[in-house]
Each structure stands twice: as C-alpha cells, then as structure tokens.
Subunit: 520 residues, 2 copies
C-alpha cells in the first residue's frame, strides 16, 4: 500500500488543518471505526474440527464463519431451539423456570415479548453487517419518545419532551442570569460571553429578557394547554414545570437514557421479534447443531477437546470432540460443569463472574389505550416504581387490535422480589404498577407472562457482571486462548448483555482459533 | 350528565391536590385536548348540495363528511389527480412547472420524493383519526437522528448527538461553577442549590468535580474514538467539542428542531409516500370529483354559488352550482379568479396573503452510502449551505439498492435562486452542496428532480404566510362564512403548510355549513 490510512491522514492534516482531517476521517470511515471486521480465513480450515458448546449467537456465528473456511464444526445446544437469550415468546409457547413454575403464553397471534435483548443499536456494526447479509428486516424503535412519561410514585407524571425542554430552559435561564450578574468573569472574554448568551437564548428557548416563561413561543416546543387548530384557534400556552418541581422529584433523572451511545437514534428492533437474527443464523447452521444436548464434562488434552453430554431426548450419554473448542456456555452454568485440562487460572476465573438477576413481564392489553388515549407510539415510560419501566409496541401503530407492552423490566433485588411470587401474583403486581401510570390498564388487562433471568435454566442470570477489579484481574484470562479452548459470548466483550458482544466475541474467537490452527 | 368533566376535575382537585388533577386530566384526555372532533351531522344534508372547489385534503374531507350526512357534493379539481400539495413523485411521473420546464422522474421502482408535506406528527389528531379510519399505514420518521450531522460551510461537521451532549455538558458545568462561586444567591436556598447541583451533575454528564470532560463516562454518551469491542477492547474515549467551537460555529442552532412540538417523537411518514392519505380520500370521493376542471369564475347569489370552469380535457366551458360552496383553492390562485357576490372585505382579504417560495430536490443515489459508510438511518442533516437540509430515506433500511434522499429543502430567496436555474443546473448545484457533506455523493449520483412551489401551476407558492398583523386584520374574515361561501385549507388554520390544517379547516367548514344549512 505504501501509505497507510493513518499516515495519509497525517499528510492531510499538515495541508488542510484539523477540519480537513476530521472530514477525511469521516469519509474514510475512521471517525467511529468499527470493532467488527468479517473474518477473512480463506479455506485454511480443511481437515480440522472445532467443537462449539452452546448454540446462541456467539456459537452460531462461530460455526457459520468457520464452516465458510472449510472447518468441520459441531454445536452442542441445551435447548430445543438455537439462540439462547436471543429469545421471543409468542402465543402457545410454554416456559418452565427453575423451581418448576410453568407458564403458557396466551398472547394473540402476531404479538410477542422479547424477554432478553430487544433493541438493535445502529452503532452495533457486527449486528448490522449480518442483518444486511441475511436480510434481517429492521424497524425503528423510538427510544426517545417525547410523549412517553416520567412517572414518580409521588403522583407526578409528565411527558418527557416537556421535561427536556423545561430542563434546558431553566438551566439556560439561570446561567444567563449568572452571566448577566458577571459571574464566571475569569472564564470568558466579553465576546465569548455575547456568543454564549446568544446560544443560551436560542438553545434555552429564552425570551428577549433571557427568561424561560409561559408563552406561545415556549409552547411551540413543549406543547399547549389546547393545541392550535383551524380558523380562530391559535392554541393556548402551557405552563412550564418549575425547576423546583423537576429537581425535587428527580424528573431529570431519566431524560438522558436515550442519549446513551448505544441508544442513539436511529435505533431498531427486528420486524417480528428479536429472534429474527437467531433464526437467520440457525437457518445457516442447523445441520451442525445437536439440540437438547446438556454438556456434563469438558476435557482438554494435547490433541483437542472432548465434551461429554447428555442427549436429553434419548437420555443417553454421548461425547463430541474437536481439535479446538469454542465454549459459549454462560459462566453461571459453565462454572458448574466439571472440566479437566483447562489452566487452573481459567478454571478459577470462570467461577468468579456473578450473573445478575433481571425480570421482565409482557402484558397483553385488549386495546392500545396508550396510542388511542395518550398518543404514545412506542418508546419507554420511566417510573420509580419497582416495575422500572414500561415499553410500548414499536409496530402496528394505530391498529385497533390488542397490544403487548413490556410491563416491567428491572435488575437486582427488585427482580428477585418479583420472582419470589408465583407467576399470577407477579402479573397482579405488575398490573397494579401499570395502573398507577395508565389507569385504563385495569379494565384492559388480558393476560401476561414473566421471565426472571436468574430462574432461566439455561443461563441462571441475565449477563456477566464485571467491575473495575475483575476486568483487570480475571477478565483477560477469560478472553485468552487456553491451548485449544477459548470462551466466547457477551461475557468476553465490553458489550455485555448485547447481541453485539456475542457476535464480536464469536468472530474474534474464530480468528484466534484460526491463527492457532494455522500455526499448528 | 349533572357533573361536567371540568367540574369533576374541580372536585378531584379539592380532594387530591394538583397531582391528582393532573393524573385525572391525562386519563380523561384533557391534558392535551384535540382540536379535532369528527363532524356529527346526522342525516340533515338530504336535498342540499355543496359545491367544493379544489380536490386536496380540505376538499376531499369536506366531501367525505358531507356525503355521509346525505349532502350532494361535487368537487372541481384542476389536476388529473386529487391531493393537491399532498403529492408524491415517482419514476415515470412528468411535471411541467410554470415557465415551461418539464421534468420526467427517473427514479427506480419503489423510490419517490414528497415535494410537499412529508412528515406526520403524532400531535396531528385529525390525521391520526383518518389514518386509523382508512387504515393508512405509518412508519416512524426519525426526526431526531443523533448520528446525522450539523454541517457548516466553514468545514465543521459533527454528529448531532455529540453536539447535544456537549452543549448540555458545557452549560451544566458553567452553571455548576457559577453556583459554586456563590452566584445567584438571591435565587435559591442552600437546599435548592444542593438539588440543582445534583441535577446538573446527572443531567450534564459531570464528573465528581462537576467538570464536563473527556472520559469513558462521557464517551458512553457522546461516543468513542474507537468503540468498545470484544475481549480486550474497552473503547477509547472521544474528546468533547469545546463550548467555544460550538458557539462560534452556531452548532447549537439546529439542535432544537426535533424538539418543536409538531416534531415530537414519535413522528411518522405514511408507508410508500405522503400521498397515501390523498389516495385514501380519493378512493372514497372519486365519484364526486371532476378532474382537470379549472375554475374561471365564482358567483354567489341569494340561493347559492355557481362556479364557471374550463374542462381542460375537452376545452369546453361549464358551470357547477351548489346551495353552498367550500372553496379550498389556494389564495395565491383564488385571488386571480374573478368573483361576484362575495363580501368586499373577503375579496380584499383573499388578495392580501402572500404565499412563500420553497424548493425541494429529490436525489437518487446508486448506493445508500449514508447508511453503509456513516450509519445514518433516516433523519435530517442540517447545513448553512443554501440547500438547507438533507433528509435520508426512513424506510428499507440496510437495503443494498439505490436510495432517494431529499437533497435540498429551503424557503425564501434561496428557493427563488434555485428555480432561476434550469432543472439540470439546479441538480448540479444541489449535488455540489451534497458533496460538501458527503463526498461519496459525487461518485454515487444517479438522477434527480426538483420542485419550486412558487412555480407549481396549481398553487403558485408553498403555503399562506401570516404575521401578527394579518392574523388580526384579515385572517378572521378569511375564516368566516360569507353567506353561502366559506374558505377551507391550511390557510384557514394555525397549522399552516400541514395536512392537519387542511383536515381541520375542512371539517370545521363542514360544521359551519351544516349549521347554516340547518337554520335555512
């Protein structure tokens, strides 16, 4: 190549200044470089076999990419379906949790709940790559919905858009006032101050006196008491919430969620359910998957890795062997499976990652009252009730039929508390809290289903939890190749709990294995 | 009823405080009351005829609702299609503008541009009502796209999400600093100050020292220089833009557009083109429409209204008469049509509403580079170039085919300047400006089409422009019934330029006419 891309940017920088560099970086796709690159393995896999434990996204993407390079692959999967936590529950589906509670989903045809991942960030480039390759159709998930609520047990309930505008307005007004009182004099020149005041006025919806106040002008952002209409209806202005009300009720606290990098718009969901990507991979790897195979022992020796597993269909014990092994079993499960031949450091690290409790409930309502009565189309309402949040369906807008909302989604102790109840009582509690936000819920409730991830037999927890210490101490060990054995899954990524983490971990495992196999 | 809704709210207020009132208001649908109500006319229209001039949305909704009540209706429409400005241009469509330039759209099958309205606010309840009634399918329009740009001719180009976060961060940091220097002491108590500082820290992405700075924490909102990935890639932090850069380049100036009330999410577009609503109304009113009928004279007498029109198909002059007349012809055209029998005040007012120039260009590109290279899915990029803005298709995400973007959209003198060129030169200028934002555009440009509304024969301008004075002086005259004649259209509403204005004006005209007819 002669000149590398980074070198080239250096040259541009010398000639054109930093704006030129920035533009060139953007054009060349370097400004937000993808951590995903499709494995380029050639056909070097011929005559080698990789055993894959677990048929979730990490396992299937590994099998898919290895197979393309000529590797023989075999996947052992505990469930009778592939996808693992990438799971959609539809009417008729049965689910038995640890402890024995069985639920049968009663949703109407076409309605579903995604108990695990449910949103597809555009920043997740591995996912976007495979969505394009497989034709997985995406629809917009309105992560920021100005018309959804922030709700507090105190009884306060306000539309998020109004709060965003009020917060921006009040903060701007206060800063403008401080500047006019000559605060921060050491901070800026007079010219700077003029430009900042101009920005505060525009960005902060301030009037000519730098006040954020009730007016048709601010209402043209935050909305009206009565909307503008035809003929002689100009609209009547609405009254901003005071900063005092906002800070005393922590109403600002949920406003930034949609600004988190992974939630930046445009963010998506797959049409028809989150399992679309799992189904797309399964269609391409089904021939390699042994379903209902419960791994009971892992043994690494000089020449490869052997897994012993129970064939749950026949009740017989079998073995599978590979020259290499990619193990995608969640650490919460893997830590309970006996193994030999793994380094003691790895065996130890596998035991040290806690998996978090998490709870979701899907609630079918007879009428889409959130749309029809309250003009909330998709998106998320936040509450300080233990239900955590409510999310409205991001499809079939304006339909006259029933709808399934995510009626509760929380982590930690509250999740444990919910699963402490029987499934019926859980739904009653979720309903009670839903009613506090939407009184119509009482009349419209139809049926529901709940999943507590710490009770899900195939994962026993939501996802791997790290802190600064464990990232330093044990995480590198979990990420490294252990002779012929390597872990993969969201738990070997910095995109924990996301499908992206599984995809990136799977493709990086493939590259590491391939490099080792090429040298062997 | 005994107790009215407002009285009931008063009672709730006495018992439960203002939070209770607010909750009840929301539940009862009063918090953001609709200005739309479906006309309830019964069957009182039998034996009466209403002549409707213009087959846009205002005309068709009038015909649709009047017909349901038994009225005889007749619509005279200038074009060979209904819908007026609610117009979608697709491959093969021909368009001849005033002055004679003819363009034939070369877009690929399935691609289109909406030269007029293009977005459907959820706050537009009349539109939402008819969308539900007619089954007009809506898809999300990502009005806020954090990953689209703010671009400046100076060469600065930044993602909107990063700017939003930087602005919120810098303003919060400055206010926190001012408060820590004891500014605004008269404004708040110590307790208030503590709560405000806590809010600034959370809402403003500030660190423990109340600084907005480069870190993995702020990058988890504004994005990274290199994204987090699998295994040993935690991501590398990005550097916030300085407040100085933001205010000197007015980069804040476009950030609030998506916060305007009518743009609040969730906002939509109809699947397949904005003309979906026009087609839905046309399917229900076609039998009443006389296409290619150019009204040349309007005459009101004691018993009704007669319109003389040229049948453009046969070249013959004809007349149509109604007991009442709803005239939806844009004032820019109507002011040139001779009339008798209208009040002098109305005739005068019709002449006094200017219609704005506006220009749009649809650009077909061979590749969806904005998605593939830059992860921009739908939404709007803002620029200070005369092209105004660029909007990316909000459908068929991740498709490998071509795509049509809105390559320019502006009002006023710039619009006039663009239409001063021939269609080919216009596209070259639009392309040049598109390239300044997306250099790939140069290689990928395929074809395009442009519409300057001031050159559109059937409207001669974009929409009716009012100011405070004309709203007071002539607008009430334009809105009122003039014996048996009434105007309707976006120009008789406070939702100028929006389909909602046309629908509300049409349905209100129907109610006014019905009231008059019932008394007659």
């Amino acid at each position: 190549m002669g000149v590398s891309r980074r070198d080239f940017l250096g040259m541009v920088g010398l000639a054109g200044g930093s704006a030129a560099v920035f533009q060139m970086m953007t054009v060349m796709g370097l400004a937000a470089p993808s951590t995903y690159k499709q494995p380029q393995l050639g056909t070097g896999g011929k005559g080698k076999k990789v055993l894959i434990l677990g048929g979730g996204l990490a396992g299937m993407v590994s099998a898919y990419e290895l197979n393309k390079a000529g590797y023989e692959v075999e996947i052992l999967e505990f469930n009778d379906r592939a996808g693992g936590r990438v799971w959609t529950i539809r009417g008729g589906d049965k689910y038995t949790e640890l402890g024995g509670f069985e639920q049968t989903c009663q949703f109407d045809k076409g309605l579903y709940i995604n108990p695990g991942p449910w949103r597809i960030p555009h920043v997740h480039q591995a996912y976007q790559h495979y969505a394009r390759e497989f034709g997985v159709k995406l629809e917009v998930f309105p992560m920021i919905n100005h018309n959804a609520y922030v709700h507090r047990k105190s009884g306060v309930k306000e539309r998020q858009g109004k709060l965003m505008i009020d917060m921006q307005g009040h903060v701007s007004e206060l800063l403008a006032k401080a500047l006019s009182q000559n605060a921060l004099q050491g901070e800026m020149t007079g010219e700077d101050k003029t430009k900042v005041l101009e920005a505060l006025k525009g960005w902060g919806f301030l009037d000519k006196d730098y006040r954020y106040s009730k007016s048709l002008a601010t209402s043209s952002y935050r909305g009206y008491d009565r909307d503008p209409g035809a003929r002689l209806e100009p609209g009547t202005p609405s009254t901003p919430l005071s900063l005092d009300t906002i800070v005393k009720n922590d109403l600002w606290a949920d406003l930034n969620t949609g600004l988190a990098y992974e939630f930046h718009s445009t963010i998506f969901e797959p049409v028809g359910g989150i399992d679309a990507m799992a189904r797309a991979f399964e269609a391409r790897t089904r021939q390699f998957i042994k379903y209902r195979s419960k791994v009971t022992d892992i043994k690494q020796d000089e020449g490869g890795v052997t897994a012993t597993y129970e064939d749950l269909t026949t009740g017989t014990t079998k073995t599978a062997r590979g020259d290499y092994c990619i193990c995608t079993i969640p650490l919460s499960i893997l830590s309970q499976i006996p193994s030999t031949g793994l380094s003691p450091k790895l065996t130890d690290a596998i035991k040290k990652v806690p998996y978090g409790p998490s709870f979701k409930a899907g609630m079918q309502y007879k009428r889409r009252f959130w749309e029809q009565d309250e003009a909330i189309y998709g998106g998320v309402t936040y509450t300080d009730q233990s239900m955590g949040l409510m999310s409205y369906p991001a499809n079939n807008y304006n339909s006259n039929g029933k709808g399934v909302v995510l009626g509760a989604y929380m982590f930690g102790p509250d999740a444990v508390k919910f699963t402490g109840m029987n499934p019926k009582d859980r739904l009653q509690e979720v309903l009670k809290q839903n009613i506090a936000i939407h009184p119509q819920a009482e009349k419209e409730f139809d049926n529901g289903i709940s999943v507590g991830w710490h009770r899900v037999p195939f994962t026993l927890g939501c996802y791997g939890l790290y802190n600064e210490e464990t990232r330093k101490d044990i995480y590198p060990t979990l990420c490294a190749l252990d002779k012929r054995f390597i872990l993969a899954g969201e738990h070997t990524s910095y995109w924990n709990a996301w499908q992206e983490g599984a995809l990136l971990a799977g493709t990086s495992a493939v590259e590491i294995i391939h490099e080792a196999a090429s040298k062997a």
